[in-house]
Symmetry: C2
Subunit: 319 residues, 2 copies
């Protein structure tokens, strides 16, 4: 069984851990990772979503916070602050810095991000094939009003520094239109038996991946079941502040609205949480097979059951 998963950061990474548990050992999982929240900090290339997937599946993640490394120290960051070099709002730990140093060195040497990611994964052995959505630079910017002035900030500044405390007027994946899918992305989609959208942010994670020309089309035309899991439970994001960016694209923060946002042209099946069972009818009316199952990734077993439900729905759709 060949499975393709479009993943953002924490939600995607945790779902993948359950998926690995749910499938037979010979299943091949390809993860297409969001790079729209990549950022250059201190001259280094930081890829938060790719790293969260890599660290989570490779056993190096800080379990409590869901991102960054375990057993982490922050001496480099302390020293950078002592030099007056910011930003201070982005929490890079010493162990994490090493990843960005290796990545930047390889990129500077001319390797594309996909090759660099593969090299980093040789250490972490995540048990999946992790491919960035694109080797080209795509950077998600968010239009906001700050101090009465309208401006665009990097997604990380919106998410981490501002904690999404102001409304997002628009979310723009800058560079996406000119970006090409990374080598292997379209091939993996074409060869997939099933395609999954984990409960990642539908706008700035999955949405950004779909914004790379060719990817959405390849998924729609793959002719295999495409099943998603709602990141919205009981009209609120399970974690993060997805409602803010959903509002920016005119989508209500409900499980049904997100399914309709993806649309039946893309999505064949959709899982909502049991508290949103009332949404099933609306989603099915939109032409998307829908089931209500527990969607809280409270532990690995619960997450594994979610992955099983997604695969079961895919088989139902296929039949």
């Amino acid at each position: 069984m060949r499975i393709v998963v479009l993943a953002g950061g924490i939600g995607g990474a945790r779902f993948l851990r359950g998926l690995k548990q749910a499938v037979p050992d010979d299943a091949a999982i390809t993860v297409i990772g969001n790079t729209g929240d990549d950022i250059h900090l201190f001259g280094l290339k930081v890829c938060p979503d790719l790293d969260t997937v890599m660290y989570t599946l490779g056993g190096g993640i800080n379990e409590e916070q869901g991102w960054g490394r375990t057993d982490e120290t922050f001496h480099v960051k302390e020293e950078l602050a002592a030099y007056g070099v910011g930003p201070e709002w982005f929490g890079l730990g010493d162990r994490d810095f090493a990843t960005h140093i290796v990545r930047t060195q390889m990129l500077d040497a001319g390797y594309p991000l996909s090759a660099v990611t593969e090299a980093l994964c040789e250490r972490w052995k995540p048990g999946v094939r992790l491919i960035p959505m694109s080797d080209d630079r795509v950077e998600t910017h968010v239009a906001v009003t700050l101090d009465g002035e309208r401006r665009a900030v990097h997604f990380q500044e919106y998410w981490v520094k501002l904690r999404a405390s102001v409304d997002a007027h628009a979310v723009v994946p800058v560079g996406a239109e000119q970006a090409k899918p990374a080598p292997g992305v379209l091939e993996a989609i074409a060869e997939a038996d099933v395609i999954l959208f984990p409960p990642s942010n539908p706008v700035v994670s999955v949405g950004t991946i779909l914004a790379v020309p060719g990817i959405r089309e390849a998924i729609a035309e793959a002719g295999v079941p495409v099943v998603g899991l709602s990141p919205i439970v009981g009209d609120a994001p399970v974690r993060g502040m997805a409602d803010k960016v959903l509002a920016a694209v005119g989508v209500d923060s409900t499980a049904a609205a997100v399914a309709e946002h993806y649309g039946s042209g893309l999505l064949d099946g959709w899982l909502v949480d049991t508290v949103d069972a009332g949404a099933v009818e609306r989603v099915e009316a939109a032409g998307i097979r829908c089931r209500a199952v527990p969607l809280m990734m409270s532990d690995l077993d619960a997450t594994t059951r979610m992955a099983c439900e997604a695969l079961a729905l895919a088989e139902e759709v296929r039949a």
Copy 2:
């Protein structure tokens, strides 16, 4: 009083600490730092000698080892090794990494090394003006025979990895011929009241600085006392493995031979240790005023006395 000091790493830095103690508060000390042992590691620009001076005078040095930062951890290095990215023989700590990250970011942004060094010193406030000998890349290579094959290695590889365990056939400051003195270097020399060579390595520290076209000439023509302190005490280097690189340039490891190597065209005065009092006559015969005084920098007081002796000898020469 305006003093110019040509400094390498540990020896130069420790001497400078004594010199600062020895002079009145209104004395202006300009340090011309060796950059021949600079190295690119992990895509970052590392300037060991400049940093040793900066950390030592700024209170951030690891006192016991004489280089690197105090309260240091090595998590970045551990992680780089886990990625299989070397070299592992160069000991960069987490706090030290921050310096190289800031420096590299500024260099990549187009600032010359001299401006970067000034910016870094704004934090450390070393109490001296620290200028790299050149903004141009100069890299000291050492010709050695390894496994029967003659090859050139970076000075750091010779010094740190090989621990100078093989003979140096030649020491070449690659790029020196094309290098220009950094802004301020020649001006500081021209305006100096006295010029000092601390007990730094005469080949790979002071010698490399003198190899930048214009610096040796400016010192010789400055018309002010030039006084040096022997790094060789009792026919052996006080620390480091200076004898190895002295042999490569055909100079005996004796206090007198080093003075003659600099020569009376450059040097007006030379301090040897009391154990080398027998060398005074030979040095003076070479046209260089010489005194025998204790030259072990065992503590700050002893080092301060050495600096006083050097300044006294300079006044003697001037008179």
